[in-house]
């Protein structure tokens, strides 16, 4: 139970739910996930099939939601192509959490 967390710090569940909302805003109904909800294990490339331009929009929305200090662009730019292809929702949640620490 997290009853005493400070207002600024969000729990993993809160972050996941917010990230999920942002992704759904971007890709809308255009992805067939077989009615599965976006989870920590969801892959951006394999499951969501997100385009690079949609990652730019995601980056912007992450900053709007979690603060302009969150430098998603640099974090992603530091990764190799193979890592980006294997990126999961849990990686983004972990990154947001790390930025709040």
């Amino acid at each position: 139970m997290q009853t005493e967390t400070s207002a600024a710090l969000k729990s993993d569940t809160d972050i996941l739910s917010e990230v999920r909302n942002l992704i759904e805003e971007i890709i809308g109904q255009s992805v067939d996930m077989n009615d599965e909800e976006i989870s920590l294990e969801t892959s951006f490339s394999r499951d969501l099939e997100m385009e690079s331009i949609e990652f730019v929009v995601l980056s912007e929305k992450l900053q709007q939601s979690f603060g302009s200090d969150l430098d998603f662009a640099s974090w992603l730019a530091s990764k190799e192509l193979g890592e980006i292809i294997n990126l999961k929702v849990s990686d983004i949640v972990g990154f947001v959490k790390q930025c709040q620490a």
Partner: protein, 254 residues
């Protein structure tokens, strides 16, 4: 999402980096058809944003910008860039462009020499229609057409993914429902005399496997203050060699 509303186009753009930086801001411009603001955003733009204010944008008809049936000629593209420049309240700027984006940068500097500090030209084609080699491309078999695309895009198409479908929709719109190809074919080469008048520092970056090796040599020979760097790769250096490209551009903007 910030967007700039022009008379006949909406341009989507994104600002990165510290507003307070007293260095000259940098606007980064992608190439036609396959490019969009992601060309730079997750590579050189984010690296440069640590020390500079950086703006990346989607050219009309590309990325998140509104679909536009016309205005793909350099004159209109330069005027779009001028509107973006003014909307940001900049007094001067440096420009980084890939492919056709590099030509937009070059022509902006030619038209407004007092507004530009430095240029980075990555794989800019001369004459303008040449980089695309449209007629040759359309004459190829489907397999050879696919082989001419960047590796990451070939992979997407091979998978038949949602990304590939969206990409093909976008390309098909630009090629069949806009004046883009016609505009490109009518665009003439830049005069050497105009190049000699561009008295500002220019970093040229070309791929050793590119079809544009002679363009690199001509620009380096003609521009008064150029420096030419080669990267192992072809035309799509921003996706082929993102880290090396960012390092060269970073070195040009200390």
């Amino acid at each position: 999402m910030p967007s700039l509303n022009l008379k006949d186009a909406d341009l989507y753009y994104h600002c990165l980096g510290a507003e307070g930086s007293n260095r000259s801001p940098v606007i980064m411009i992608h190439g036609l058809l396959l490019g969009n603001s992601a060309t730079w955003y997750f590579g050189a733009a984010s690296a440069l944003a640590k020390s500079h204010r950086v703006v990346v944008y989607d050219l009309r008809g590309h990325g998140m910008s509104a679909k536009a049936s016309q205005g793909y000629d350099l004159k209109t593209m330069v005027s779009d860039l001028k509107a973006l420049f003014e909307s940001q309240g900049f007094s001067r700027v440096s420009l980084v462009g890939h492919s056709y984006g590099a030509l937009i940068a070059l022509h902006f500097a030619k038209e407004f020499p007092d507004l530009v500090d430095k240029l980075v030209i990555v794989e800019g084609p001369l004459p303008p229609g040449r980089g695309l080699q449209i007629d040759e491309f359309l004459g190829l078999s489907a397999d050879d057409q696919a082989a001419a695309l960047p590796k990451d895009i070939q992979d997407q198409i091979a998978k038949g993914s949602r990304q590939a479908k969206k990409l093909i929709d976008r390309l098909s719109f630009l090629v069949t429902q806009t004046e883009l190809i016609e505009n490109l074919k009518q665009e003439s080469d830049i005069d050497d005399a105009d190049l000699r008048d561009l008295n500002l520092p220019v970093q040229l970056i070309y791929g050793t496997e590119s079809q544009l090796v002679d363009v690199a040599q001509r620009l380096d020979r003609t521009l008064p203050k150029s420096h030419l760097s080669w990267l192992a790769g072809g035309h799509y250096l921003p996706s082929e060699r993102p880290h090396d490209l960012a390092a060269i551009i970073g070195g040009f903007f200390p």
